[in-house]
């Protein structure tokens, strides 16, 4: 029997790594990891490790929009991040798309109008990659920006969600949360990044939504709806964890001050 989630899930309702459909991998994160930068973080989600440094807000270089800060992103995926040693070049379109996405998400989210004519550089280093590349990068950048003291209306959190399509028609098609690398290769998945609604009465809003695999959206988009719902809910969980990380760090700092 091939050991993949699609076939094991039907029988055991467990995924290959033993998680249930709505379980996140273990997340651990820390902020202010690098005192020399304006803000920094390390974000670990399962076997994916991302380190982020923020430089800025600092004087921008000849930018056009003089009323807002400009967000720039650099993503480096280490050659040793995956099982096959591969060097991703700077011109890699996938990495460029990633950079554009992260910049654009934070450009719209942060209160950039408070820093006219300046620029904020997010540099991300993916040290180990086991799925959820974009989601981990967004989370790491979010934490580092919080650490840098850049004002934002809420913490942007991201996660991946996929769907297991039943092959026999008996088992239901279940959405699953936070895929690892082998699941990503096997199943269609979404990368979802959300921010909190403006008030408590509003739902979370989707900032980033990327899907690269082909799926049937199902009747009235039910399948997609399920994936999206699981993703948005997962983001909420991740946001809570990230909030706790910031709070713990802050409490420790305050205790040290006395």
């Amino acid at each position: 029997m091939p050991l993949d989630t699609a076939s094991t899930y039907g029988q055991t309702l467990l995924r290959t790594d033993g998680r249930r459909w709505n379980e996140l991998r273990r997340i651990s994160a820390s902020i202010s990891t690098q005192p020399s930068t304006d803000g920094s973080s390390q974000f670990v989600m399962g076997n994916t490790v991302v380190v982020c440094n923020i430089v800025g807000p600092r004087e921008g270089r000849g930018q056009r929009d003089t009323n807002n800060a400009l967000i720039e992103t650099e993503v480096t995926v280490a050659p040793f991040a995956q099982t096959d040693r591969r060097r991703r070049t700077k011109g890699d379109k996938r990495v460029q798309e990633l950079q554009t996405t992260i910049s654009s998400a934070f450009q719209a989210h942060l209160f950039t109008h408070l820093y006219p004519r300046s620029s904020i550089t997010i540099s991300l280093h993916v040290l180990s990659l086991d799925g959820a590349l974009l989601a981990s990068c967004l989370n790491a950048a979010s934490l580092a920006l919080v650490d840098a003291g850049v004002p934002m209306p809420s913490i942007l959190a991201a996660v991946t969600s996929g769907v297991i399509t039943s092959t026999d028609g008996i088992t239901p098609s279940d959405p699953i949360l936070d895929l690892n690398n082998s699941e990503e290769l096997e199943l269609p998945f979404l990368s979802v990044g959300t921010v909190s609604g403006l008030s408590e009465h509003q739902e979370d809003k989707v900032s980033v939504l990327i899907m690269e695999s082909r799926i049937q959206i199902g009747q009235n988009g039910k399948k997609l709806e399920a994936m999206l719902a699981v993703g948005v809910d997962g983001c909420k969980q991740v946001r809570t964890i990230m909030g706790e990380v910031v709070r713990t760090h802050g409490t420790r700092i305050l205790r040290g001050r006395k």
């Binding site: 004087e59 913490i155 408590e200 700092i253």
Partner: protein, 404 residues
């Protein structure tokens, strides 16, 4: 009613007693806050009766609780939002959220401060935001037309207009194009200087500096240290004296050099530790040297008070370091380490703590001194090198914390 800014731990008490305008100032409020462990329970039980600030009274009022961006502070209309907070009433959906009440959420991570009815958050860490009167250290980044651009670790580069510096010789006159052409003789790219923030731009927050005082100007004869700035409780704090002189142990010994070291703590976190310069003594020394030289050349130049002034002023834009003896250098290095150590220990850095840390360091070193002739002791010290360092650190921190 005067506005008072209180530390976060006192903020709750302030609310109970300091806002007589509020509808129901319950005297019970301020007294119960002193017993902290059961604050949460008392506040929740009080909630229906007090009715004054139900949301703030429960979880947020806990001592030094860190707020996280996006966290709701309150949804009562009576509060005013200050720095680090954000009201949900977005321009596009103002009609929709009007009924929901103006929810105030945090946008920065940090403890909540309440100043009467104003809610604000001071971030745990952020870039330096210049404000008028701050003493800052900066580095010249570029020389523009009639002004320098200075890096002061703020979001934007500060500017130092040509008209805001002292010209050598203390002359007061309009700056001409001739001065513009020789701006580099005063400050070049990469030069460090100490200055005061004269103004902050309204729209963008660009700081304008000035060095129109003998205390300000180019820096030399020392070491640059960078720590976190702007009095957030950590790093350099806005204090009474940002520039001070420390009488070091170097002076007590041989007598070569006064042994005094100048420390300049910029509010922006840039610091400068240098050999103490006594302007007058220095000038006299220089003059003597100059006179000797001139005498050697066979010319006769009279010495007058105006001449002295000129010599002093010419010195301020010099980039030449003076001779500093070994002992002073050692003490400069010790002070630098003390400053970084204070920053690492997340303690505030001001005249008081720096001097305390320094004397603790000297004392600890004296105690731990190893007799160089005793070979066993030297070997043991080398083996315990790391332990010794951490021990030293611990002592210094303890001295500062205990004293303060």
């Amino acid at each position: 009613m005067g506005i008072s800014i209180l530390p976060p731990s006192d903020s709750d008490d302030d609310l109970g007693s300091g806002s007589p305008g509020s509808p129901s100032p319950s005297p019970h409020d301020s007294s119960s806050d002193t017993s902290m462990p059961d604050a949460a329970s008392t506040s929740s039980s009080r909630r229906p009766g007090a009715g004054k600030r139900p949301k703030l009274s429960s979880s947020q009022r806990r001592r030094n609780r860190i707020l996280v961006p996006g966290e709701t502070i309150t949804d009562e209309a009576q509060w005013m939002r200050g720095h680090g907070t954000f009201s949900a009433a977005a321009p596009s959906s103002s009609h929709a959220s009007a009924s929901a009440g103006a929810t105030i959420t945090a946008t920065l991570p940090g403890p909540l401060h309440t100043t009467n009815k104003l809610l604000s958050i001071t971030p745990l860490r952020s870039r330096y935001h210049p404000s008028i009167g701050d003493l800052v250290l900066g580095r010249i980044v570029s020389v523009d037309r009639a002004r320098w651009r200075v890096d002061i670790a703020a979001p934007l580069l500060a500017q130092l207009p040509l008209s805001s510096i002292n010209l050598p010789g203390g002359v007061l006159r309009r700056r001409t194009t001739a001065d513009e052409l020789q701006m580099r003789t005063y400050f070049q790219e990469g030069d460090l200087l100490v200055a005061e923030v004269q103004g902050v731009g309204n729209s963008d927050g660009v700081a304008t500096l000035h060095t129109r005082s003998l205390r300000y100007g180019k820096l030399r004869n020392g070491v640059f240290v960078r720590v976190m700035g702007e009095g957030r409780g950590v790093g350099v704090v806005r204090g009474r004296r940002q520039v001070f002189t420390v009488a070091t142990v170097a002076g007590s010994g041989s007598g070569s050099g006064s042994g005094e070291v100048d420390v300049a703590l910029g509010v922006n976190g840039y610091c400068w530790v240098s050999r103490h310069v006594d302007p007058e003594a220095d000038a006299l020394e220089k003059e003597k040297a100059g006179k000797a030289k001139m005498a050697g050349a066979g010319s006769r130049v009279g010495m007058s008070i105006s001449n002295l002034d000129e010599l002093v002023s010419n010195e301020i834009y010099s980039s030449q370091n003076d001779e500093i003896d070994y002992r002073t250098r050692k003490e400069i290095a010790r002070l630098c380490t003390c400053i970084t150590l204070l920053a690492d220990a997340a303690l505030k850095i001001d005249e008081d703590t720096v001097i305390k840390a320094y004397s603790a360091a000297v004392e600890a070193e004296m105690e731990m001194m190893v007799d160089e002739d005793d070979e066993d002791a030297v070997a043991a010290a080398a083996a315990a090198g790391v332990d010794r360092k951490s021990e030293l650190k611990k002592r210094i921190v303890q001295a500062v914390v205990g004293g303060g």
